[in-house]
């Protein structure tokens, strides 16, 4: 889905510092007998211990090596917990290092990765390109630049960067996964699925375990879900959760699958587990929708209030909050402002135009919405939510043919893509088809 896969991509970007080897590991480990163990010191506890120790060291003896390491540790904490304040801390550590050594490359690299994690993609791309200019051997930063380009909608630059990395680091799972996402965005679901499968094999064969490995089946799950393969998606997320029971991306992905399968109670409990780890707006909005379906209106109101509260605090969630507001026809002016602000900041990816189209429609600006929907459709991305939004926009604009085609295509891709929106798509399609008859 637009939001879901978009989130996975961003998480991927911040996740895999880039090489599998260098990427920090999750807290559960795959075992020979398939069980999950907790007897090893968990990565989370170890990361927190090291953060405490190095924070104490820099209070007494501030030094670049410690600030570098702290930057990496905070980035790891952010990846493990989804707590965006960890990225702010990572940036602060990098700034301390740069105050001591102004051109220091590793600190600038931490800033590039932090900017990516906090959705400041223009800055991430600029920083990455400066570092690579100074040191062309920094393939990890070429990859960061590719990630940022993809999020900015510059798929050609993303392709050039990622293929350059792939050719110099063949068989690197994290690069293959990025190419999978590029294939998906540019309309090739089959290629995306094939590349994601290859990435999972590559990651497993190079010793990845825990939440680093679980990222790959979770990515495959998101692609399978987008094209309506719910059983396959379920198997992927099950695999991910066996590897890392606390993988919030896999928990939310599995919740979405269960909702599509009509297993609302299971979906709610999975979303609740994801929300307990970190109340990300997309998760809270989906949870609120399900609470409402289950007749739990008070819980729904609390979940929706969380979306708005978190959204006010964290600009990185602008798009997710805009989509929520548009879905619920709440503060639609705010939704439009948030969606257009992302475009103005240079983020011209298809999901950005999609969010803008959806918000503009909610605000009644149908002509503007049509223009944005056309941009969102430019790669024919196989995303049911994106096609549904565009279909509704064209329906409002009176273009029955385009609307019908898009709504049919969204429902054909994934008949139950969203417990609230898919029935609306079906109702609108029925209305359009009646009008045709």
């Amino acid at each position: 889905m637009a939001v879901a896969v978009g989130t996975a991509g961003v998480v991927a970007a911040s996740y895999l510092g880039w090489t599998d080897g260098r990427a920090p590991r999750g807290r559960a480990h795959r075992t020979g007998d398939g069980a999950v163990i907790a007897a090893l010191p968990t990565d989370r506890a170890e990361v927190d211990r090291l953060i405490r120790g190095f924070e104490a060291q820099v209070r007494v003896a501030p030094n670049v090596a410690a600030f570098d390491f702290l930057g990496d540790l905070y980035l790891t904490r952010g990846r493990l917990t989804g707590d965006l304040t960890a990225y702010t801390q990572a940036a602060a550590a990098a700034e301390r290092a740069l105050a001591i050594a102004p051109r220091h490359e590793d600190a600038r690299a931490v800033l590039a990765r932090t900017s990516l994690a906090l959705h400041d993609f223009s800055r991430a791309r600029t920083l990455a390109s400066e570092i690579v200019g100074d040191d062309p051997s920094r393939l990890d930063l070429v990859a960061v630049g590719g990630d940022a380009s993809l999020e900015l909608g510059d798929v050609d630059a993303a392709r050039v960067a990622l293929e350059a990395v792939a050719s110099r680091a063949p068989g690197a799972a994290s690069v293959t996964a990025r190419l999978a996402r590029l294939a998906y965005v540019t309309g090739d679901a089959a290629q995306a699925a094939a590349l994601a499968a290859r990435a999972e094999t590559e990651a497993a064969s190079t010793g990845a375990t825990g939440s680093v490995l679980s990222f790959y089946p979770a990515l495959r799950g998101s692609f399978a879900f987008a094209v309506g393969r719910y059983d396959e998606a379920s198997a992927c997320y099950e695999r991910a959760l066996r590897l890392a029971p606390g993988d919030r991306v896999a928990l939310a992905g599995m919740a979405r699958v269960r909702a599509a399968q009509g297993r609302t109670d299971d979906a709610i409990s999975l979303y609740e587990r994801a929300a307990a780890l970190v109340p990300e707006p997309a998760t809270m909005a989906a949870l609120g929708d399900l609470y409402r379906i289950a007749g739990r209106d008070a819980d729904a109101r609390a979940a929706f209030a969380t979306v708005e509260a978190v959204g006010r605090l964290q600009p990185a969630y602008g798009r997710a909050v805009a989509n929520y507001l548009s879905d619920h026809r709440r503060h639609v002016g705010d939704a439009v402002d948030r969606a257009l602000a992302e475009l103005r900041a240079g983020r011209h990816d298809v999901f950005g135009h999609d969010a803008a189209a959806w918000a503009l429609l909610a605000a009644g600006r149908v002509d503007d919405a049509v223009a944005e929907a056309r941009r969102a459709l430019r790669y024919d991305t196989p995303d049911p939510l994106l096609r549904y939004h565009a279909g509704m926009v064209f329906a409002a604009a009176g273009d029955r043919r385009a609307a019908t085609r898009l709504l049919r295509s969204a429902l054909a891709l994934s008949p139950h893509f969203d417990p609230v929106q898919a029935p609306r798509a079906r109702a609108e399609l029925r209305r359009l088809e009646k009008g045709e008859a």
Binding site: G17, G21, L50, A109
Partner: protein, 344 residues
């Protein structure tokens, strides 16, 4: 990105060799055991374990301690740790296989001399083994090293620039994985050369290799770092001797006595390469030239040599870096496996 111990994350871009932190060697140690007539070989791996790497041994990698008993820098004895997959209780079982003669280079067949489980010291006959998480014994002012030797701006005045003339030990808080084997001296021989490798189980390709600390880090750059990791000690002088001499010449020139002479460079390159820890098992380890005990400040000795401190006739070595002003960790033990319990 962080660079860990003496040989940690030393491939270009400071990524682990072949992007495998679970095959990345931190340090190698060779020293006399506490009990008379016994020698200990140890290799630490998994830089940044717990934060950067999972503390799990790979099953497609073999962890190999190589011993040369004839002085030709070719292994004729090896102890190889092979691990089974992680179990649900968080441990791995392993075997230690001893290979002699040509099989030491091409480790097929061999004799299983020990079996064990990670985290628990094991005894099999006269062989003691350990594999698992420990406190990292390496101690070093990484930050000052990067400024003074690698030439990066770190805002430091140099080594020993902290309050009271102290340095900053980057490694005091870190853990590492370690494989340790202790055998009677007679199982090894008298004068030996030792180095560690991690090799692919499928074709025995060498992923990482290390003898003394920081040789690859200090003397090689770019693709030579990878070539060195995958290479054989017997080829070190021919392939990397020029790199060593060039770096020695550059850094010794900073000494007020000026650079080493050509003949001195040849002598030193001949000591530093092949990258093997030499040790006489009949003696107490005393790095850098006779073994490496966990507390031996081998890297300080190397820094001193690199910066012109080696005292040849007519050259007193003053003006070279004397040390980094950080010392051994307090958690070493006098009993097997000698490395301290892991930090938690």
């Amino acid at each position: 990105m962080l660079s860990q111990g003496a040989d940690h994350l030393d491939a270009p871009g400071l990524s682990s060799p072949a992007n495998r932190p679970d095959a990345d060697i931190n340090d190698v140690f060779v020293f006399n055991g506490t009990d008379f007539g016994r020698t200990v070989l140890a290799m630490t791996t998994h830089p940044g374990v717990g934060a950067i790497a999972t503390p799990v041994y790979a099953t497609d990698v073999r962890y190999k301690l190589n011993v040369d008993r004839t002085g030709d820098a070719i292994e004729d004895l090896a102890y190889v740790f092979d691990f089974a997959p992680l179990r649900s209780n968080g441990t791995q079982t392993y075997t230690v296989t001893r290979y002699t003669g040509f099989a030491a280079q091409n480790p097929r067949g061999g004799t299983v001399v020990a079996r064990g489980t990670t985290g628990v010291p094991a005894t099999s006959g006269s062989t003691r083994t350990f594999a698992g998480l420990r406190s990292d014994p390496f101690f070093f002012d990484l930050d000052a090293f990067r400024q003074a030797v690698l030439g990066q701006d770190r805002g430091r005045k140099g080594f020993c620039d902290q309050a009271g003339g102290a340095g900053i030990d980057f490694f005091g808080l870190l853990n590492t994985n370690a494989v340790v084997v202790e055998v009677p001296d007679g199982a090894l021989g008298g004068k030996i050369g030792v180095w560690g490798t991690t090799i692919r189980r499928s074709d025995f390709h060498t992923i990482d290799r290390m003898g003394r600390p920081a040789i690859n880090t200090v003397f090689n750059s770019g693709e030579d770092k990878n070539a060195f990791n995958a290479g054989q000690p017997r080829d070190d002088r021919a392939r990397f001797g020029a790199n060593v001499k060039s770096v020695l010449a550059k850094f010794s020139a900073l000494d007020k006595e000026g650079p080493y002479t050509g003949a001195q460079l040849d002598t030193l390159a001949g000591v530093l390469l092949p990258d093997v820890i030499t040790y006489d098992t009949a003696t107490q380890a005393n790095g850098p030239l006779n073994g490496r005990w966990l507390a031996d400040d081998v890297i300080d000795a190397e820094l001193n040599i690199v910066t012109g401190g080696f005292a040849f006739p007519g050259r007193d070595g003053t003006g070279a870096i004397g040390g980094d002003c950080v010392g051994q960790h307090a958690d070493l033990t006098q009993t097997f496996p000698y490395l301290g319990a892991y930090h938690r």
